[in-house]
Assembly symmetry: C2
C-alpha cells in the first residue's frame, strides 16, 4: 500500500490497522445504504472519523475500497461454511448429516449483511466483473468445490450414489438455498423465520437423497 | 397519463405510442449500461430523439420510467413461460414432457436483456422494493403458481407423487435454473452454450423425478 500524497500522520502499525478497520466498517454502512455510484470517499471518511487523505492512504480508490469490502465479507462467511463442509462426517445417518450441513450453510449465507452485499455485487456485475468473480470464487465457488470433494468421498464409501460429484454438489446447494436466496434477492426477505429455513433444509435433503442416496 | 407541463406537441395517438416505444427502447439501453443512479432523463431523451418534455409527458419521473421498463420486459418473458407451463401435457412420458418444459423455461429466463434487468433490479431492491416485488410477481412468482397448479393436476392423475405442489414447483424451477442463473448473476455468463443448458435441464429433471416421479 503506497501513500497517496504527503501526510502529517505518523501512524504506528496498530493505529493504522485500527483506522483501516474503521474505514471498512464505514464503507460497509455507506455502500450498502447508497449503492456503489451513490457512495463518495468523502462520506466514508466522515463516517470513519478520519481524513480523506487517510482513506486514500489505505485504499487507492473507491473501486479498491469496495473490492476489499466484498473480499473481506465473503471470505469471512465462506470460511465457516467451508469448515462445516469439511467436517461433514459419515455418521452412518447420511440424511441427518446432510440436514445438519444444510442448516448451517443456510445460517451463513442468509446473513443480512452478506445478502445486502450480494445484491450490490450483482447490481454492479456488468460494470465491475472482477467483483462478481471475486464474490463467486471466494463464496459459492469455493463451497461447491469442497462439497464436490466430500460427496466424491461419500460415494466411494457407498453413502451416496453419483457419477458427477460437481453437479451433485450444485444440486444439493441449490435445493437448499435457491428458494430463500431468490426471495431475499428480489423481495428483500433477508431474515426469513428459522422454521422456514428448517423446512427448506429438510425438504431439499429429502429430494437430494431420492436422487443421490444409497438404494 | 397526465401531461407534465405545457407542451406545443399535438400528438396523434399513433405518434404518441411510437414515441413511448422509442423512449422505452432508449431507457433499456441507458439503464442497462449506466445503472439506475447513473441514468438521467436527459440522456434517455437524447437517445430516443425526443424532447425531455416529451419523456416527462409519458413518464412522471425516472422511477416511473424504470418501473415501466421492468414491468414490460418481465411480463413479456413471463407470458411465454406461463403459456409453456399451461400447455404441459401428460403425454404418458412425464420425463420427456418435463425436459421439454425445462428447456423452454431456460430459453426464456436466460435471455441476456432479462438477465441484465434482473441484475439491475436486484441491485436496487433495497432502495426500490416495489420494483423487486413487481419483478418477482410478474416473473418467477407467476410461473411458480402456475407450475404448482399443473403439478397438482399431474399428481391427481398419478403422473407425479407429491404432498406440497408449491414446494415441488420451487424444487423443479431451481433444479433447472439455479446453476446458470447464479452464474449469470455473479459472473455475467449471460449466454451459456446451449449444450450446457441442455445438460442442466436433463439432470434437473432426473433429480426431480427421483423425488416426485411415479414409482
Amino acid at each position: 500500500m503506497t501513500s497517496a500524497g504527503p501526510t502529517t500522520d505518523d501512524e504506528s502499525e496498530p493505529r493504522a490497522a485500527r483506522k483501516r478497520r474503521a474505514i471498512l466498517g464505514a464503507a460497509a454502512t455507506v455502500f450498502l445504504r447508497n449503492g456503489y455510484v451513490g457512495t463518495s470517499m468523502d462520506e466514508v471518511a466522515a463516517r470513519a472519523a478520519v481524513s480523506k487523505q487517510t482513506v486514500y492512504k489505505h485504499f487507492a480508490d473507491k473501486e479498491a475500497l469496495f473490492s476489499e469490502l466484498v473480499t473481506a465479507t465473503v471470505a469471512e462467511a465462506s470460511d465457516s461454511v467451508h469448515d462445516e463442509v469439511l467436517h461433514l462426517e459419515d455418521s452412518g445417518d447420511i440424511e441427518a448429516d446432510l440436514r445438519d450441513l444444510a442448516r448451517r450453510q443456510l445460517a451463513k449465507v442468509m446473513q443480512p449483511q452478506v445478502l445486502q452485499l450480494r445484491r450490490l455485487v450483482i447490481g454492479e456485475a456488468s460494470r465491475f466483473p472482477a467483483l462478481g468473480r471475486a464474490f463467486y470464487d471466494l463464496g459459492p465457488g469455493r463451497t461447491l468445490t469442497t462439497l464436490a470433494g466430500v460427496f466424491a468421498q461419500l460415494a466411494e464409501r457407498g453413502a451416496l450414489r453419483l457419477e458427477d460429484a460437481a453437479l451433485a454438489a450444485e444440486h444439493f446447494n441449490w435445493l437448499i438455498m435457491a428458494i430463500p436466496l431468490n426471495r431475499a434477492m428480489l423481495l428483500g426477505e433477508d431474515e426469513p423465520p428459522a422454521s422456514e429455513l428448517e423446512r427448506y433444509a429438510h425438504a431439499g435433503v429429502r429430494v437430494f437423497l431420492a436422487a443421490y442416496g444409497p438404494r
